[in-house]
């Protein structure tokens, strides 16, 4: 179907991520991702899971154009990542929140500066930055660490700051790579509660994890990758 009503019938307006026939290899001949296809609706919370070396982080990085695929299509929030100009990709990244397993905080910036940076890049008026940063740090529970540097914080606190940075621009899509990977049970639960809260506010969440216990505790749709192949949708028991 073509024409102006196509969008209504195709329901593409409900889709946040659309990946089709994605292939990716590095220098060695084995494919890391083989013909991967999946879709994520707006407002969904999905896991991307699988054993170590399955290609989860590669797929994660492809979703914000940190890597280029060998072939296939990736569309995120209506932007075709294969054809987008660097400036459009930068704009898309400002509309999404990305949480990394190794936090990726700037070590010589204070907690406040790390979080404020995302707002400054987005061109937020300076008068709003102070208040917004404080509010988001309060949501993740590290508002008292405002003036400290990341190396002075525990792993859990650093992860909260990284989540705060991802949330501060009020993104509609959150991508998180093993956000509880280095954390103990209690703190991992708290972090998961934060992601559940964000999702309940309408944000789409894609979380990479290989932690089966977590999948059992917080049941959501799972995309399971094994040896580069997206094998099945799995609903844990």
């Amino acid at each position: 179907m073509t024409g102006p009503l196509y969008g209504l019938f195709s329901q593409s307006w409900r889709r946040m991520i659309s990946v089709s026939n994605l292939n990716k290899s590095y220098s060695h001949p084995d494919m890391v991702l083989k013909d991967v296809s999946f879709k994520v609706k707006k407002g969904e919370f999905v896991y991307l899971s699988g054993p170590s070396g399955a290609g989860k982080t590669t797929l994660f990085r492809l979703l914000f154009a940190d890597l280029k695929p060998d072939s296939g299509q990736i569309e995120v929030d209506g932007l075709d990542l294969m054809r987008a100009q660097p400036s459009r990709i930068a704009r898309l990244r400002r509309r999404m929140g990305i949480v990394f397993q190794d936090y990726k905080l700037i070590p010589n910036y204070t907690v406040f500066d790390n979080v404020a940076l995302a707002l400054e890049i987005a061109g937020t008026p300076r008068r709003l930055i102070q208040k917004t940063v404080w509010q988001v740090l309060k949501v993740v529970g590290v508002e008292r660490q405002l003036d400290r540097l990341p190396p002075q914080l525990s792993g859990g606190e650093q992860q909260r700051v990284a989540i705060a940075r991802a949330l501060v621009n009020d993104p509609q899509l959150i991508l998180a790579d093993e956000p509880t990977g280095n954390l103990d049970y209690e703190i991992a639960n708290e972090i998961m509660n934060i992601f559940n809260y964000i999702n309940s506010q309408g944000a789409t969440v894609v979380m990479v994890t290989h932690n089966r216990a977590l999948l059992q505790r917080f049941k959501r749709k799972v995309f399971y990758l094994d040896q580069g192949i997206l094998q099945a949708y799995v609903w844990p028991d």
Partner: protein, 301 residues
């Protein structure tokens, strides 16, 4: 206006962070650029002053025509008429033997007493010719001197322009050498700024990666480095001007004390406002050039 402020504020903040967090790199860079800019400033200062003084000297062209002893009135009159008809000559003065001796006594001052013991006045009469600097140049002086030397009644012709011509030739050579020298120093400055920015990029590669990941555009990442380059250029050229001024003041006082009879010191002048601004602009341009040279490393991030 407010939007511009909101856009520029984080860029200046990042620039400030870059400079504050890499003080040693910036200090070394500014020091080396200051030395290069100081050499440039001293060259321009030396050249502009030398050129002005030589130009003043060149406009003060004179020829002394010494006459044979006992020249008769008719020959003297012919010689004066000959001088009067020369286009290059504005005026000439006749200095008699007696007047020449008086002048010599004044020049010698207290040491002139020995002249009283001489059996006769050894100094010749002369015609002092003043040339028009608009018409005559150093080459004309030599030509005129040769013509005058051939006239009957002329014993000897003296002119001070031979050394002046050599000085002028030397100044010309300095001018062309100076262009090469200035180009070399400018290239060195650009290279230093670029290297500093590159060092800073290596040191901050992880920060740059984070900036990319949280959605910073290339210009947002690159502009703080442009500001850093400009900062280094402006600070270094200002320091260089400050040191050059201090050096110039000391040299002027030293010259005035050591060689007051030359009357050179009062003629020495520091840069006026326009050259000062041009020099600061040069520092800024060199800073920008250094940034542009390193910008491909920024693109690689």
């Amino acid at each position: 206006m407010s939007r511009t402020k909101d856009y520029l504020y984080p860029l200046f903040k990042l620039t400030g962070n870059n400079i504050r967090r890499h003080p040693v790199i910036n200090l070394i860079s500014i020091s080396i650029i200051t030395i290069a800019m100081l050499l440039l400033a001293l060259y321009f200062l030396g050249y502009s002053n030398a050129a002005r003084i030589v130009s003043v000297w060149r406009s003060d062209l004179q020829i002394a025509v010494y006459l044979v002893d006992g020249i008769d009135a008719e020959r003297m009159s012919a010689l004066k008429n000959y001088c009067r008809e020369l286009d290059e000559v504005i005026r000439f003065d006749y200095v008699s033997k007696e007047q020449a001796l008086e002048n010599f006594k004044v020049t010698l001052g207290e040491d002139s007493s020995f002249l009283s013991g001489l059996p006769e006045n050894p100094l010749p009469a002369s015609l002092e010719l003043f040339l028009d600097s608009e018409v005559a140049d150093v080459d004309d002086v030599e030509r005129l001197a040769r013509q005058l030397q051939r006239q009957v009644g002329v014993d000897e012709v003296a002119y001070g322009s031979r050394w002046l011509r050599q000085l002028f030739s030397l100044l010309k050579a300095v001018k062309y050498f100076g262009f090469l020298f200035a180009a070399f120093l400018s290239a060195v400055t650009v290279f230093i700024v670029a290297s500093t920015i590159r060092l800073s990029l290596y040191a901050r590669s992880e920060t740059i990666r984070v900036l990319h990941l949280v959605g910073a555009t290339r210009s947002f990442i690159a502009l703080p480095y442009l500001f850093e380059g400009v900062f280094q250029g402006v600070v270094a050229s200002s320091l260089a001007l400050g040191f050059a001024f201090a050096g110039f003041k000391h040299f002027k006082i030293w010259l005035q004390t050591q060689a007051p009879q030359w009357s050179i010191a009062p003629q020495l002048k520091f840069f006026t406002t326009l050259p000062l601004l041009l020099f600061l602009l040069l520092g800024t341009i060199l800073g920008i050039a250094g940034f542009l040279l390193s910008s491909r490393w920024i693109q690689r991030g």
